[in-house]
């Protein structure tokens, strides 16, 4: 009976508190919502850039140049060998004629050069697409080394310089992004936890009085924790909505950018609820101790 009453009263108290502390709640939710919005923007930008990077990585190819005048079965043996690598996703045979044609296209306005050639200096080749997870300079270097020793293989190339330079840039980006991410994340944590503190500061007096009339810590605490969770949810939802609106506007100019998945959003909102509750719990503890 009493436990049930306590539960009921605490719940009741929690809902009443939301109404009573409306001004401070609205202000807190605005602060938290916009802070979270900044955090979400950061995450979304990181997400989209890393998707661009992944796509670029998928474009990378290893070229296996074959010796001139090989038998068809040697070529087939090479092909089979290439497919045996775990890291290889696909192999395409490029005849030397097609290679020259492609070269001409790539030169673009300098294509007159090709016309001046009397013979086709290019060999037959295989073009290897790597599996996404193995599209690294390291792995490409490793298989290139092996393939280079095979019979009938003249040369293996994968734009070593470019790949390494690209990987350096990507690493730089991730390092910077990660560092900034930590700073931004900590900033948001500080902003939100201090907002909770500031908000609870104005409830000191009620806490004092409730303690004097014999309320248990739980009775006093839970409504604040509930308030924290509520603020967390509402501000998370606010942030997501604002982000979504910006996304809708932004995706007109930058088609192809992605938004968060629905389960990610749900998880984020849940996380904010938990963090809001925890923040309130920590902030109120010191008023209860005395």
């Amino acid at each position: 009976m009493s436990a049930f009453n306590e539960f009921k009263y605490i719940l009741d108290e929690s809902f009443r508190m939301l109404r009573r502390r409306k001004a401070s709640n609205i202000i807190s939710v605005i602060i938290m919502g916009f802070s979270l919005l900044v955090l979400l923007i950061f995450i979304l930008v990181t997400l989209n850039i890393s998707m661009v990077i992944d796509n670029a990585r998928e474009e990378m190819r290893v070229y296996v140049y074959l010796e001139n005048g090989l038998d068809q079965d040697v070529i087939e043996r090479v092909r089979t060998g290439l497919y045996n690598f775990d890291s290889v996703r696909g192999v395409v045979f490029v005849p030397r004629e097609e290679a020259l044609e492609r070269f001409r296209e790539r030169l673009g306005e300098g294509s007159a050069l090709v016309d001046d050639l009397e013979t086709n200096p290019l060999p037959n080749s295989f073009e290897i697409r790597m599996k996404r997870a193995y599209s690294t300079g390291e792995e490409m270097g490793r298989i290139a080394g092996k393939i280079g020793d095979w019979d009938g293989v003249e040369d293996v190339r994968y734009g070593k310089d470019w790949v390494e330079r690209g990987e350096k840039i990507v690493l730089g980006f991730y390092m910077t992004d990660f560092t900034l991410g930590i700073i931004v994340f900590l900033s948001i944590v500080f902003v939100i936890s201090n907002t909770v503190r500031l908000s609870i500061l104005s409830g000191r007096k009620s806490i004092e009085i409730l303690k004097l009339v014999g309320a248990t810590n739980r009775y006093i605490q839970v409504p604040f924790i509930f308030e924290g969770a509520f603020q967390g949810v509402i501000s998370a939802v606010l942030a997501v909505i604002l982000l979504w609106v910006s996304y809708k506007v932004g995706s007109r100019y930058l088609p192809g950018i992605t938004f968060f998945r629905l389960d990610g959003i749900a998880g984020f909102v849940a996380l904010c609820a938990v963090l809001g509750a925890a923040g309130s719990y920590i902030a109120i503890r010191k008023y209860l101790k005395r």
Binding site: M1, N5, K205, S206, L210, K211, G214, K289
Partner: protein
């Protein structure tokens, strides 16, 4: 009637230094179950501070406060709320929750004691009518006069039928007519078995009732008109009428399924001279 002689609250050799200017020095007195005691003293004598020590909002530098089964020197912080739910307190500055109605201010004290909403609603009519505020039950403290606020504080303190009521200047903002009514109410509550310790500077008031009176001055007890367990007082306490009512009251509480008297099972002999 050995039960009536139980001490519900005792202060033993309590000393407390509050500032360069003020120290409570070696306070000793006990309040028996069902007793009515005035605590009188001029402004700044230490009445409120002493009461604060009794509801354990502050701890003595030395000495002991025992209220019911709660002993100040052996208190855990988590049991302070149990103590406060067993006693009723009227604060000198009311301490009402500004953002709640009269009803809610009183109800909150009943809720934290775990009482059911239907019971609270049933009793509220009686409690608020007693202090003459039933028609204002949905007002917030800001919309009440000083005297009305004080009466809310009194209503809250008596709402749980405490075993002891600590009332700090409960009639300071009340006119003579309401003061009389409130005093009658307190006596009625007292005659129901609740001990009352009433701090006031109003010597007239005290004199007119002729109850046991403890005089405090500059942090010292300078006079105690009655001592628990001394002949005359014992008689007045074990007054048969009071006793009968007290028993009725307790029986009713048992009938509601509550423990007989959570704060009354310490039978401690008088500690100080």
């Amino acid at each position: 009637m050995p039960e009536e002689k139980r001490i519900i609250a005792g202060i033993y050799h309590l000393s407390k230094r509050l500032s360069r200017h003020f120290t409570l020095k070696d306070i000793n007195f006990q309040v028996a179950n069902g007793e009515f005691v005035f605590l009188v003293g001029p402004s700044g004598a230490g009445k409120s501070t002493l009461l604060r020590m009794m509801y354990m909002d502050d701890v003595p530098d030395s000495g002991q406060v025992i209220v019911g089964r709660f002993v100040s020197t052996r208190m855990k912080r988590s049991t302070i709320c149990s103590l406060r739910r067993k006693i009723g307190i009227v604060f000198q500055d009311f301490r009402l929750l500004e953002d709640r109605t009269v009803f809610e201010n009183v109800a909150v004290a009943m809720k934290v004691s775990g009482r059911g909403m239907s019971e609270i609603k049933r009793e509220m009519t009686d409690i608020l009518s007693r202090v003459g505020l039933y028609h204002k039950r949905y007002e917030c403290p800001a919309a009440l006069s000083g005297g009305e606020q004080q009466r809310v504080a009194i209503a809250r303190a008596i709402a749980n039928r405490p075993s002891i009521l600590l009332a700090d200047e409960p009639t300071g903002n009340l006119d003579p007519y309401v003061t009389k009514e409130i005093m009658e109410l307190l006596f009625k509550i007292n005659s129901g078995g609740t001990a009352v310790l009433l701090a006031t500077h109003d010597v007239e008031l005290v004199r007119s009732f002729g109850q046991r009176t403890i005089y405090l001055e500059d942090g010292r007890v300078v006079k105690d008109s009655g001592r628990v367990f001394e002949g005359d007082l014992l008689r007045s306490i074990s007054d048969s009428q009071v006793e009968r009512r007290a028993r009725e009251f307790r029986d009713r509480r048992i009938g509601r399924g509550e423990k007989q008297d959570g704060t009354g099972n310490t039978n401690r002999p008088e500690g100080g001279g």
